[in-house]
Every structure is written in structure tokens, then in C-alpha cells.
Symmetry: D2
Subunit: 381 residues, 4 copies
């Protein structure tokens, strides 16, 4: 317990996120957006010079050459970090998380949670034992409209869920960028750093998580057809899946990184016995509600009729677009609030994706690959 | 050969389409839209009074109590019909088509083509032997934007096709309408009149046909998960399918009649190695072209940059919306032009869905049902 | 009174609409769409050969060299036309209408109604004296969604109307097409055939009519700034206007034929003390309803919650797009129904734009030009 | 000159923005988003307790009871603020700005710049004399798509500008909120705190500024019709204006706070002799480009074909929506860069709205009110 935690900003460290990274800066902005936290330390690259230069660019007071050193040193300081952000490639997630958890430091970790399913199981045990906050940045669940969607499903406004269509399609790997020095492409297409799956791990898991978050339903079995369209690529860059949900509902999940002309198109449609819902990440302030036999309604972030969950995740009046950063920041907002609670002896309240969601994501990846390798046959989760 | 066929409107008969029907009036409008044909005779219902009342409402000169009688009588008249429109429930398609083909009368038939795959095969043989025009109203291929899409794929503007996402989702069978006297719902959910499949036969075939029409590719195998969500319904009202295409491309086809809040949402997206395409039936005048690395383009029916196929299918300047009727009429326009050709000794030129497309549609239905009955396993077409 | 008028299709004649015309074919399709009328005679061009060729292309039984001859001859035939469609350039509208009205033949006339305000006043008197049906094809009022909008305003769902924004913008006259042989451009930019105004007369009147139709309010004064952007053009090709409505509401009307990239963008937005409405001609099946403090609703043509006026103007189920032709046909549908009534001794019921709307349109044009010529000052209507 | 300014975050103070404020938090987020500045001091309310509580909520090290005291105290500290954010109601802008400028502290000020035109002129002189950075938060110019639009106009891709349609419509003052204790509504409808105009000052100036920013053109004269629809309100809540631009182009500007169902709808359309452009603030990542005779193009923030100005204002890959905060932060990003330059002896480079834009905005407000008071007649700017 930290006596002063309610009277100051949280102190945050970052592992990974060095120059050239995309997601590191996102974590920083998200953590700091609400003036509840400040990044003060980093082990931003395995290359010491790049680590220092990256830390300098953010005016970080403390830069470390390795995350292990950072974990030890920060734990030893009276003004050490409360929270670490894990923004490395996947193969390091588990090791980094463990290093900080063992020093009593809370963790926000990027997704997918680990490299392997075994690592995921171990991490669950470690987090549970530690009593620390562990949040996984399935950031799309941070959008107010997504929270509204979940609340509406939960309250029964859709009736029994019958059909879910979820897609996450991009085109940024349409060319073999991994062969021409693109660092993002290199590690994401490398089994040693990315894991069993490429596209399915990178974005398919977001789709799976979003489906579960909104519907409250688990996928009970799936039939997955993974493809690699770019010659020489070592992991999948496209996948189509049939889903069966635990309640008898059916679904489709498709993800792709070779869908020409698509940017970051994460879309979900949910159909129940009373109404449907539709949400597009690329225009995230809008949620389409489709009650059977009545006019479709355009629900908009920030307006008074939105429910409490959506309002709590909203910062500006309607019509002032909130986007990717703000949604990401909502994960941090909830995690930070829980860290304040835990450190002042209160129970955590959650609301953000947890280590259990991360485990389910790793099961999803593992089973999807298994299904596809067996010729796209049905596999239970 | 009919000597005068170039100097007059074609004379058209209709079977089915009596009062309460939706599609009968669509065929009439479509046939007559371009002033190239006029409906003059009908066997519009098996109920003689309803048949007569229906014919009167359209001011038809000749009404018959049965299609068999109509076929004989019209063939015997010097001013008999040139063409019959088959707009009955599915189980009669083959019998009606045969009756008129055997009298030398050209046929435009609604889809799916027949009740069974065997009937479809017999009809192919009959049409081929007859030398008559047989057009199947997969009317969505009549949209100018769809024809533009096909031309662009054919010309290589998309490169090699990698991924196709096609969906046709509605909500009109969300309730058990077949139990409350809705005639449309009754026959479409009745295996004796609709065939092996419900939703898959009624609209899934449109999706399959559209995919083939635009991409020029056949589905080589599929894995289909059909569902019946409404208790007591005898046929499927929802289906999700994984597709593999003959060129190695992958796809998804989903169709539903229980998707709350959806009207008549037929959407196709095609992704190739160079570009993507997107088209929505409910806003049919627009085709979205997505060249990789360049801005998406909004191609609009009626503008000068559209190709010859699209222009030929277009009647009004850009911005004057053309819709369902006009697309349907394009099937008739092409079929009528071919009837004029055939009757004046010229070779037919096609461009409309044929008896072969109809056969493929019946194979699709049959295999989808087979796949689903085997637990949603892969089946070759 | 015509004894048989209830038992047959109406017989229709056309003046103008010869080959190369756009609007002639639209009138034909619209008149015939519902199987309630058939075009049987035409004086389709002042060039006799072109007149005959145009009539032949439509298989018209009777072609005339002049509209005067047609009016006399048809009136003398026992099977003469019931109705004439006036589809010539503006300067002939009044003369053609008069010729047929004087022979007891009903008239559907294109807009703007006449060349001059004086002609319009005379035509009002003539129509009133005749007791015949006279419909003006302000065809955009035929859209079901527009009828729904009018009904909603009328029923008070918007409260008191405060603000109206109406625009009709195109780009088809961005280049001096009138100098390169484009017949449509030639007469529309020629004061002798088009009248006082170019863009304001051609499309500004549609905007004015739509505003009045939906809101039920008249423009009480306006301040108009007309422009001619294309050098050498004799009439305006763009206009911006401030409006004051009879109830104290305010408005803007803008029209243009030089707005690069715009097709046929007629859009109206109406804001009242309780709610707003928005409609776009280019996606006409949708009406956006914006109740204050509640979610916007997407009202869609063909669904069960639409009001009686909209349903009566709708032919296909929701999601089967209806467009320009169908809306145009709704004007004819109403006019034909009235002709049947009048000819069987029943009172006319209206519902379509009348000679009085036409007079108001001519006042609008005249006052807009007057305002602009005075330096864009306020002028009362 | 500050020796260390390149090696640390800038220190920022805030005046106004206390609890209950909307715009204060926006300034804080915007200033801090890029890790280039940190808010460390505030005079956040004229109520000392509220000032302290507001500062505590943000963990500010220093809270002051008055802005005068803050200006003096901060200027005297070795670690005093470099920059002050002026986020009070309009009537204080000039006084606050003056207080800090006179202490050598840079200013970012909310809009409209001052209460009166005279104050604006004095502020211009003061800023020019000071050599300090003064940025005005016409934040909508910070959107990447807006910067792309400006660059495209500047590069001649639209040709000569002929027509501009700009609107900024909301509904948040549809009810007399100022009578029921809403602080935002109270001061914005109070001439003593808001100035000559209500809606025109609050959002009309944004529209005017956006028009000038994108087109590079000044309004040479205007004809404005201001309305107050809510009984008892002291300032306008709606306005319609005709515009004439310095190059002969024409335009319309409409703004409203009583447009039922509208959130924060700032939309601009620009039409030139070669192409048009369209941008909607509520979906800000998209810019529609409309080249005459070619397909419309959907230009999207973050993609490689965007110009340097847009790229510099963009932080995340395409498809990761950036919104209101990020655009606002772009004004700060540019101002902060200039402060670093000025304080290290380099010339300022601008790129953000300046005191001169603020003066023009005040002229616009003043002239619009004058025009309307004269009966909506033309007034030169």
C-alpha cells in the first residue's frame, strides 16, 4: 500500500516503445491523457543508445538499458514507478510482465498477451497470486459506443443473440514489407517474436475479444481457414472462421492484412431476437441500433440518452470526435483507478480486459491455428 | 422466326404474379420499362377468379385458368406471346418453363431455377435443344455498378482475386410469419414448394451468383453452417459459409432472414492483389474502388468514366437514382434483344443469367445443405 | 365524361421528348409504370423526320408533325388521347398546354411551368375554367420519403419550423457546353427558350417547390445573389439566397450548375422547435428524423412504421431501392387517378403539384432575378 | 531567451478552465498530448476555493487566486511558466492576455479573441510589440484533412474558387438553458461576457476562419440575417449569411445553436473551376475530393498520398481515428515549436491562427451584426 497514491499522479514506466514504434507513444498518450499519470522511466529499446534517445525525446527522467534493471531499480526507489506499460513484441510480454509483477509493480500489457498458451496460463497464476492490477490493452473495448453496445446486450435490448458478424481487415501487409526493413512487419511475421499466428494473433484476437466483450458470450467451437497470400511469408495474413457460440448463436469472424484498400476496419454486427447493433471502429462515435420493426437509431457518443458506462468513457460533448487515443486512454483510466484502489486497500473493480481475457485470446489463437492445420475442421474451445 | 419482330413490341405472358404477389409486378414493370414489350396474357393464379381479377387489374387482354392452357392457346394464336415470365413458387418453375419451351416460347424465369438439382439438369438439356432464349432473373447482376465491377475485375484492375466477402441479410422472417397466413412466408418455408433450402435458396443463391458474376470465378468447395432459429420452421433461415474459389482465393458467404433491422442488404467486397471493390445493393448507384496505396474512388452510375457495360445498363444521368426495377429491367432488356436476334436469325449474345447459372445455383444449394447436414464439413462443387 | 375510362388504360400523348431528349423518356416510363396508361401518340419534334423516328422507336401508333395538329386530331378520334405530356423547352409549355386544354385533354407539364409570369397567370385561369386535370412534374415531391417528411411536419412532429436549408447543386454546366452543340445546354442557357433565369429556373424552382411542399410554408421575402461564372453565358449558373418564411422562420436556398463534382444533389434540412429532418435526393429511400434530445432515426421507405402518404407512394419492400423513375411515376399515378375521377364525375383529389404551384414557381424565379438585379436586396413575394 | 528550453518540457499555466468548464480540460490535454509541455500552474477560477479544488484535481503544483497575481509570480520564478492558456469567457481574454504578455509570457488564447473590435486592435499592437508567440485556438484548422484541403487549394488543384458553402450548426441552445443555471449557456448568451454576438461569435467565427484558412480568401462583403428564436435570449442563436469573396467567388455561411438534432456539425464545401472539396468535422479523418469529370476520391488521414502539411499533423496510422483533442493539440504543437524557436533566438514559423486571424474574426462578428441590424443589407469588410 502506498500512502500518498491518492494525492499525486501515478508514476509510470515503459518497456519497449522506442523510436520507430507505433504503439509505445499510444500507451504514453493514453496513460497521461487524464492527468492521472506521468511517464517517468523507460527501458525503451534493447539498443542502449536508442533507449536513451527515445527517453530523451519524451524528457523522461530515468532511462534504463534493460527491463530487468529497470524493474529492480524502480522497485528500490521511494519514488519508483507504480505501473509499467509493456509495449514490446509478443515474445517478451510474459518475461517483462513477470519481472515487474515480482517487484510488486502493476502492469498494463499489450496484446496478444503472450507468445504461447503455456506462458498465458503461467501469467494468469502469477497475476492472481500477486494481487496486482494487470490490464490488457484490447483497447477497442475502451470506446464509449462499444460500452454502450455491451450494456444494451446485457440489459436484454437485443433479446437472445443469434448471429454475430465481426471483421477486422487491413491492407498494410499486402506487400512483403518484412523483406524490406519494415520493423513492424518484421516481427509481426516472425514466428519467434509473434507466435503461432500472424494476422489472427495481431488483429483476429481483437475481433474475438470485442465479440466476447459486447455479447458476453464465449465461442464454443470454431472452424478456421487461415491463408498466407504473400509468398515466403511465414505466418497467416488472412483468416475466415465460422463460429458457434455457447448459447447456440452462430457467427463469422474474418481478419485480413491483405484486403486492398482497407485501413483498420474493425466492424461488428450483432443480431438478436429483438434487435441488432452495428459498430465501426473507423467511425467510432456512432452506434447503430436496429430494433426489429422500428426505425434504426443512430446512437451518438456524448448525448444524454447514452448509458452510464458510455458516459463514463466519454470526455467531450457530442459532435467533438473522440478517437483511438481516447479509447485507449479509457483502459488506462480504469486500470489507474483500480491501482489507486488496490494501493489504498480497496477492492479492484475492473472494467478493463484482464489476464483472463488474455488467456482466452491465446486459446483462440491456438485453436484457430489447430483448426486450420487440420483442414479447417471444427475445434472446441 | 417471326418476320415482324423488329417492328413491334414483344408480346409477353405471365404465369403467377397474381394479387398479393410481390415479384409478379416487378417482372411486368421490368419487361415493359423500355417500351420494348407489353404484357398481354396471364395465368396469374391457380384460383380462376383470382387469376381473372389479377389480369383485369393490369388490363390484360387474355387471362387463362392454367398455364398449360395458356401455353397451348398462345402458341396457336397468330398474335400469341413471344415470351413468358415464370413468377410462381419454385416447385412450378420447371414445369411451367417446359410447357412454354415446348411450344417454342422464350422464357424468363425467376430464381432459384428449379425445385431440385435433377430438374435443373433436365431444364438445361431442354433449353439447349430448343434454341430458345432462357433468362434467369438473378436481377442484381442487372445493376450498372455490378456490371462495372465485373468489367474491372475482368480487365485486371484488381489483380488476382484473393478474398471475397458476400452477404445477403434480411429480417423479414424473424417471426414465424408462415404460421399467420403470410403467403410469401408460407411457400418460402415449405420444402414442397421451396426446395431443399429456405434462406440459402431464396437469397443465398443471389449471393453466390453475384460472386461468380463479378469475379468470374467458381466456388470450388464450401463449408456451410445452416441454422433454423425460428422454432417449428422447416427450412433454414440463416447460413454462414466458408468458400474456396477455383483460383485459390478464399471467401465468406453469409445469408440470413433473421438479422434484426436488416432490410435487403446484399453487399459484396472483392479484394485482389492490386485493389478492392465494394458494392451495396441498398445504395446501388455507387461502386467503391479501392486501389492499394491510392485514395478510394467513388464510382457513380451515369458518369462519363464508367465503362461500356455499365453505360449500356444505365438510363438516366448521374444523380438520378436508378433502383431495383431498373436493374431488373436490364435483364429483360438483354433477353428481349436476344429474342429479337434469335427470331430474326441472328445468334444470341447473352449478358443475362442463363440456364447454366441456374444449374450452378442449384448445385450450390444442394451442396450447402449437404455440407451442413454433415456437420458443416467441406464439400466440393 | 368518358364512359369506359375505368375499364382501360389511359391513352397518352407526348409533345417533345424526341431523340436526344432526357426528360421525354422519363415521362413515358413514369406514365406507364403502373400499367394504368399507355403512350399512343406523339408530336415529338418540330423536325418531322425526327418526330417520326422518335415515335417509331417507341412503337407509337400515331405520330404528328405538330402539336397543334395532334391536339385537333386526337380530340376528334373516338380513341383519342386522354392526357398529354408536355416535355418541350419552357417557351412552348404554355402554348402546348393551352392547345390541349382547349380540346378537353388533360395535361401533365414539365417545369418551370411557363416562360413568363404573365403566361403562368393566364394558364391558371385557363386550367381553372377548364375543369381539367393539370399536373406539374415537380417530380421530387413524388418520393415516398418526401411525402413522409411533409406528413410529419403537418402532424407537428417538428414543432414550429425555424430554419430550412435547401440546396440543389450540380456541375453539368461547369463548361460552356452550350457552345459545343449540347442541345440540353443550348436551350437551358437561352433566355428565349428558358426564360428569365437559368439555374434558378431549371433547378432552383425544384428547391423552392420542395421547401413549400414539405413545410407547407410560403417564402415571404428573399434576397438573392445570382451569378454567371461561365464567360459568355447569358443566364445565371449559380445562386445563393436568404429566405424569410411566412411564419417567421428563416432559410437558405442555394442552387448551382457549376459545383464541381456534384451530380444532382438536391438536399433539404428542416429544423423545428421539436425536431429536425434531412433528406437527400441522391439516396432517396432514407429520411433522417432528428428529435431533440433523442437518437436520430433512419426512416426507410417501405417499412411498416411509415405513414399512409409514404406507403401509397411506395411499390416495393424496404431495401429494394426505388429511384427517380418511381418518384416521377407517383406524380402520374396521382394525376391519372384524378383523371379517372374527373372523367367519371367524381371530384379531383390532387396530391400532385398543380398550376398554382407552377404560378408560385414563376413568381419565385421572377422575384429572385429582380432581387439580384437590384444588388441582392430583399424583395417580397 | 531561455537557455534550457530545448531540453525540457515547456511549463504551462492556465487561466480559467475550472471545474464545470469544458474547454479548460481540452487545452490541458492538447498542450500535453505530445509530451512537449506540462501544466504546472493555474488561476482556474475567480472563486478561490474552486480555483484550488480545480488545480488539485489536476495535481498542479501552483494555484493562484487571480490571474494578475499568477502573471507576476510566475514571471518572478526561475521555473516560472513559459506559456499561458487563456480559457476564460470572452470578456476577460484581452485583459488576461495583456497581463501575461507584459510579463514576457507567451499566450495561447481561446476564441473569439476579445470582447470588442477595439480590444482586438489593441491586442494586435501589443503582440507585435512583444515579439512573443500568440496563438488563437481556432482548433478546427488543426485537423490534418483541413490542412490537406488548404494545401490542395493553394497548389491549384481546385482551380479558381467559385463557391463556398460553410455551416456550423448545433442544437444545444434550443432551450433557454441560460435561465436554468447552465454556466456555459449563461455567459455565452450574456452580451457583457460574450460580446456583440452569440452564435455568430461562438461558432460563426470558426466557420469564417475555416473558410479563410482553406481558401486563402477573405470575405469582402456580407449580408447577414441574424435571428434569436428563443424568447428572452439577449443574443442571436442563428444566422444566415450571403458572402462575396475577394476573388469574385460567392458563398454562404450559416450557423445555428437551435438546429434540432445537430451536434457539432461544422461542414465546408469548396467548389473551384477544376474540382471541389468537402469536409465534415464530425468525421474529420476524411476529405472528399471531387475533380470534375472524374471519380470522387476519399482522402484519408494517415495514408501515404497525403501531403506534408497533413502528415505533419497526423500521429497514428490511417484507420486509427484522430479527433477533436488531436486537432486541438496540433495548434499547441505548432505554438510550442515556435516558442522553442523564439526562446532560442530563431524566427517563428507560424502555421497556427494568429492575433491577425483573431482581429479578422472580430471584424467579421462586428460587420455581421451591423448588417443584420440594418435589415440584412450588404456590408463591406
Amino acid at each position: 500500500m502506498k500512502q500518498d497514491i491518492l494525492n499525486r499522479k501515478l508514476r509510470v514506466g515503459i518497456v519497449g516503445g522506442g523510436q520507430g514504434s507505433f504503439i509505445g507513444a499510444v500507451h504514453r498518450v493514453a496513460a497521461e491523457l487524464d492527468s492521472q499519470a506521468e511517464v517517468v522511466a523507460g527501458a525503451m529499446s534493447s539498443d542502449p543508445q536508442r533507449a536513451q534517445a527515445s527517453a530523451d525525446a519524451w524528457y523522461l527522467p530515468r532511462s534504463y538499458a534493460s527491463f530487468e534493471e529497470m524493474a529492480r531499480a524502480e522497485a528500490a526507489r521511494p519514488d519508483g514507478i507504480d505501473l509499467v506499460m509493456v509495449t514490446t513484441p509478443n515474445h517478451l510480454h510474459a518475461r517483462v510482465a513477470r519481472a515487474f509483477l515480482e517487484q510488486g509493480i502493476h502492469v498494463v500489457c499489450d496484446k496478444p498477451m503472450t507468445l504461447t498458451l503455456d506462458e498465458a496460463r503461467e501469467l494468469v497464476a502469477l497475476v492472481e497470486k500477486s494481487g496486482l492490477v494487470f490490464a490488457l490493452t484490447h483497447n477497442y473495448t475502451g470506446y464509449p459506443a462499444v460500452r454502450q453496445a455491451r450494456a444494451m446486450v446485457h440489459q436484454g435490448e437485443l433479446g437472445e443473440i443469434r448471429k454475430v458478424l465481426v471483421e477486422y481487415i487491413q491492407d498494410w501487409l499486402m506487400e512483403p514489407l518484412e523483406e524490406s526493413g519494415n520493423k513492424q512487419a518484421e516481427w509481426r511475421t516472425d514466428p519467434a517474436r509473434s507466435g503461432l499466428a500472424g494476422c489472427v494473433g495481431d488483429i483476429g484476437t481483437h475481433a474475438e475479444n470485442l465479440l466476447s466483450f459486447i455479447t458476453g458470450l464465449r465461442i464454443s467451437s470454431l472452424c478456421a481457414d487461415l491463408s498466407t497470400f504473400i509468398e515466403g511469408r511465414k505466418l497467416d495474413d488472412d483468416a475466415n472462421m465460422l463460429l458457434r457460440l455457447e448459447n447456440g448463436g452462430k457467427g463469422i469472424l474474418t481478419c485480413s492484412q491483405i484486403a486492398a484498400g482497407e485501413e483498420n476496419n474493425l466492424t461488428i454486427r450483432v443480431y438478436g431476437s429483438k434487435a441488432g447493433l452495428e459498430w465501426h471502429q473507423m467511425e467510432p462515435n456512432t452506434l447503430l441500433f436496429k430494433p426489429y420493426g422500428q426505425p434504426q437509431q443512430i446512437l451518438r457518443r456524448g448525448l444524454g440518452y447514452m448509458g452510464a458506462e458510455a458516459q463514463a468513457a466519454s470526455r467531450t460533448p457530442a459532435g467533438h470526435p473522440e478517437g483511438f487515443y481516447e479509447a485507449f486512454a479509457n483502459i488506462y483510466k480504469l486500470a489507474i483507478a483500480d491501482i489507486r484502489r488496490v494501493e489504498s486497500g480497496q477492492p479492484a473493480q475492473g472494467g478493463y480486459p484482464t489476464v483472463h481475457d488474455g488467456l482466452r485470446g491465446m486459446e483462440f489463437i491456438t485453436k484457430a491455428v489447430e483448426s486450420s492445420q487440420q483442414g479447417a475442421t471444427w475445434v472446441d474451445l
